[in-house]
């Protein structure tokens, strides 16, 4: 039985097309449609309900050591109010999940994980905690909305003063007051645009949603569903767990070296990651040069040789062309390499292109 987010009634009232996703009932799109929602985020702003995301709070004097041991990135030199992305690896160097870590203060961290992995992650991390560190799953009491797009800041400034907004990318403010709704606001997102993510208690979610929609109405803000969330992240070439990252595909193959600190003391997956070097496959971008749309899990051929598989693919609305992400051997991954993708029995010509497809 799927759960509802605190904004479920809003989605229905706005005409959202509701689908089950990661255990929740969420809108895949609103009446404007995926393309209009996507374009709103690229040219104005979009508002997403991402309350399904999981929130785990780590507290205690040994919280930092535990995060450094559980995750591949290094959290040692973070300031209070900083956010840092990290994969979480299994012993073989594949991915348990990818997530973001918020440093609230010494000994207090908020870790935001993918909805579909929340229970798996919580169990995985709880089983490996050492020393004086507690983990609490706050997911069911917290709502989260994402306000994304070039006009996101302008919209927020209608509701609160500039000094209470996070200034730097991947930073956050706690205890912001959005017209009476206490929020944590971070400059983060999953669209490739400037934007913010706002966390609040479930009870304030509807008010926050209404305030933001109203504040942005005349600026072109649209409510956006899961469909646009996926096309936006794909166009920006951001990996999605279950596609570009899996228990098998690790962060190094995905090109996430910036978030893997092999130089730090032993951590879960370090030996497995090192054993994968040199890499047998690497994440690439494909642009369709023939006719058609490439999707996930389609075979890639170079001549008659099976060279790899796609992990995500769609029509990229802002770029106006079909793109995909895939894994190829480093030898096949040179920019401009011509390949063919088997799209349900039809060979569609593509070429390897640089990532990201879209950059702000």
């Amino acid at each position: 039985m799927e759960r509802k987010t605190p904004l479920y009634d809003r989605h229905v009232a706005l005409g959202g097309k509701i689908v089950p996703f990661a255990g929740y009932l969420l809108p895949v799109q609103y009446p404007a449609g995926v393309i209009a929602e996507h374009m709103a985020v690229r040219t104005a702003a979009g508002l997403f309900d991402v309350s399904h995301m999981g929130e785990l709070v780590f507290t205690g004097p040994d919280a930092l050591d535990n995060l450094n041991h559980l995750l591949t990135n290094d959290f040692t030199n973070m300031y209070d109010g900083q956010v840092r992305y990290s994969p979480m690896c299994n012993e073989s160097g594949g991915c348990v999940d990818d997530l973001i870590v918020y440093k609230v203060r010494e000994g207090v961290y908020l870790v935001v994980v993918n909805a579909a992995n929340r229970e798996k992650d919580a169990a995985w991390m709880a089983a490996r905690l050492t020393g004086d560190c507690q983990m609490e799953d706050r997911s069911d009491s917290l709502a989260q909305v994402a306000l994304q797009g070039p006009r996101a800041k302008e919209i927020l400034l209608r509701l609160l003063p500039e000094e209470t907004l996070p200034k730097k990318y991947y930073s956050f403010v706690r205890e912001a007051d959005v017209s009476g709704v206490p929020c944590l606001i971070s400059r983060t997102g999953y669209t490739g645009e400037l934007g913010y993510e706002l966390y609040c208690a479930n009870a304030g979610a509807e008010k926050l949603w209404d305030l933001l929609l109203e504040a942005g109405r005349d600026l072109g803000l649209l409510p956006c569903g899961l469909g646009a969330r996926d096309t936006l992240r794909l166009e920006a070439a951001m990996p999605l767990y279950g596609h570009e990252l899996t228990e098998d595909i690790g962060p190094l193959e995905a090109g996430l070296d910036f978030a893997v600190k092999l130089g730090k003391p032993d951590f879960v997956g370090k030996a497995g990651l090192e054993a994968r070097l040199p890499l047998q496959r690497t994440r690439v971008g494909l642009e369709v040069t023939g006719r058609g749309i490439v999707r996930e899990h389609q075979d890639i051929y170079i001549g008659d040789r099976l060279a790899g598989q796609t992990t995500s693919g769609t029509h990229a609305p802002f770029l106006g062309k079909a793109v995909a992400m895939a894994y190829l051997s480093p030898e096949d991954a040179a920019l401009g390499t011509a390949v063919e993708v088997d799209v349900r029995g039809r060979r569609v010509p593509c070429k390897v292109v640089d990532l990201p497809f879209y950059k702000q």
Partner: protein, 126 residues
Amino acid sequence: MNTPEHLRYTKSHEWVLFAGDGTAKVGLTDHAQEALGDLVFVNLPEVGDALTCGETLGDVESVKAVSDIYSPVTGTVKAVNEDLLDAPESINADPYGAWLVEVEGITGQEELLDAAAYQALCAQED
């Protein structure tokens, strides 16, 4: 949802318009385009291809997914609406104007519904 009286409909959400001369045009219904969302690609057969009723004649892709189109009739492709190849969104804008193929030499057809029966089917699915 728009379901013109002069058309016949399949349970798989295609429409068919029989002309007096033994040919027919085939398209996707308003209900289908609404359910599929923004269409971004159409894959159609070629003139001269043989179609069999109930079997796929092509497919359409929305931003999110691909869906097969089933032929309501058995016959031969007389013409293909080439305009759709560059403008698949016409199906969203005008589903009953944006025909996909014209078929000739028709020798068989699916069980087809009239507008009222098709509306009832869609109501059940919603």
